[in-house]
């Protein structure tokens, strides 16, 4: 995973630049999820940036759509679109909407941002692939706060019933949401136990440990007969000292000075 360290640093810097340029956005959850997305795209998700509509591709749904700066940064780095386009985030006419929309940007698999819906959509996709007998895999990245939505639990109940072993949910468990810490707003723990009891193959990892992420994503592919959950323990705002686990940075853009400070910390220059 050594080779991903420098590119991921760039991704973190892109996130900060995009949100600072846009003047709004969600740095906290973008920085917590970026390692997960980077490893997924680099090592596991079968995709072709030159053919984003390739029918045989795997699918990623970023159900926590507000963290799309992270997804856009990864997509640009992998060549879905020119990197310069990143700075159009949230601007009128941009393909990089404030929350992702599939019909605007090739490579986005589903419109998200209304929390709680991504897992249902991923489940439906996985079901269709099972019908067609393909070996495609489906990854849904949710926030932990998002797991408070009832629809998520409907989907968690349904996926094992349909034996969807081609479906993996990755929970970006940063313990933060707009109004405070998840554990204080509406606690989810013991989350892994809940998922296990819903008949999901469940593992808990450090969501910033690249080897652990890679290992978990490899392991889930060997599971037969049931869907898999990866609870990734993360730090909101990871990589920028003044943003880390600071709820204020859930949905706020850094000003010029904060942006410079953040880039300095990330890039070490």
């Amino acid at each position: 995973m050594e080779e991903l360290i420098a590119p991921i640093r760039e991704l973190r810097a892109d996130i900060i630049r995009m949100i600072a340029t846009a003047g709004s956005g969600h740095p906290g959850g973008s920085l917590s999820v970026i390692d997960l997305l980077a490893v997924l795209y680099a090592k596991h998700l079968r995709h072709d940036p030159k053919r984003p509509d390739w029918p045989g591709r795997d699918r990623l749904i970023l159900s926590k759509g507000h963290a799309c700066p992270a997804l856009y940064a990864v997509m640009a780095q992998r060549g879905f679109f020119p990197k310069e386009e990143l700075l159009t985030l949230r601007k009128l006419g941009s393909r990089l909407q404030g929350h992702p929309e599939r019909h605007r940007l090739p490579g986005i698999e589903a419109a998200t941002g209304s929390l709680g819906q991504g897992l249902s959509m991923g489940l439906g996709m996985a079901l269709a692939a099972k019908m067609d007998g393909t070996d495609q895999r489906f990854y849904v990245v949710t926030g932990d706060g998002e797991m408070q939505e009832g629809q998520v639990w409907e989907a968690l109940l349904a996926a094992p019933q349909f034996k969807l072993d081609n479906l993996t949910v990755i929970v970006d468990s940063n313990n933060g949401q707009i109004d405070g810490h998840v554990s204080e707003i509406m606690a989810l723990d013991p989350l892994a136990d809940k998922l296990k009891s819903f008949n999901w193959d469940t593992r808990v990892i450090d969501g910033h440990d690249l080897d652990a992420i890679d290992g978990a994503l490899s392991a889930v592919k060997t599971v037969k007969g049931k869907p898999q959950a990866i609870v990734a323990k993360t730090v909101k705002g990871k990589g920028v000292s003044f943003m880390e686990d600071n709820i204020a940075w859930h949905g706020k853009a850094p000003n010029k000075q904060e942006c410079e400070q953040a880039l300095k910390e990330i890039l070490g220059a």
Binding site: P55, E101, R102, H103, E109, A110, A111, T112, G113, S114, G116, Q117, L119, S120, M121, G122, L123, G124, M125, A126, L127, A128, A129, M131, D132, G150, Q151, E154, A155, L157, A158, F162
Partner: protein
Amino acid sequence: MPKATREAFGEALVALAEKFPQLVVLDSDLSKSTMTADFAKKYPHRHFEFGIAESNMIGAAAGMALMGKVPVCTSFACFLIGRLETIRVAVTLNRANVKLVGTHAGLGIGDDGASQMGLEDVAAMRSLPGMTILQPGDGLEARQAVEWMLQHQGPVYIRLTRQKLDDVHKPGYQFECGKLDVVWEPEPKAKHFQATVLASGGTVGGAVAAAQSLQPKGFAVRVVNAGTLAPFDVDSIEDFAKDSERFVTVEDHNIVGGLGSAVCEAVASLGAGKPVVCLGVRETGESGLPAELYERHGLSAPHIVEACIRNLS
């Protein structure tokens, strides 16, 4: 022969299963009521039971549609529309090719009462860009509308009745999406109409009965079936406005946001200057026989008659 449009839908699904190999049916524990049980029995590998969890069913339908399936998602109209947020994002924002089938429309369900009656669904669905809304007026139209829906690329909502409906179309009828169709006019054809009545679904039969009862009294009333509620056929409204003194709308739906609103919007935007008398449900529903409920809530033929000739000398 009288038939509930939900029955015609269930028969059409089975009849069309081979023609549409990507068709799949999703249910939320109501397949016996939404009439998908026969399809489920005949094509078990293409039928998915989601349990009493409509949000997940609709979201999963969107996912299946994005993989090329043609998912038909059924429940009572009221339970589907209760998941408007999932419909708004997973279906319409994604432009997903999902077919939402809401049965048990309106007061016409009868004795199950208010909580089971879909009375707000059309209003909500009309506010979603790209959503086609169909409400067939009899079994013949329902069968054809279902076939049209399956070949159409894009989200569709179809609203069906629990109660049996009399045939309002002649045997040679051809469904055309987006077109209002005249189901009854006095013979010989009048040059001038006291009213053009627009009805949809469960109210079309009553509108025809009302118009027929007015003919011997010297009133010429045309009855139009609104089988497509969105996109709405404004061109035909323009034509009807030329020879009609007024419009009357009658719908088994809340008075706000449905057929009556669509006609008012069309007449106003055309500057057609004709009054529109809207009959629709103004309160929550209640238990009773369908005919009793239509009478009590102002949707029956006598109410339509009154709306057609009120204040006319």
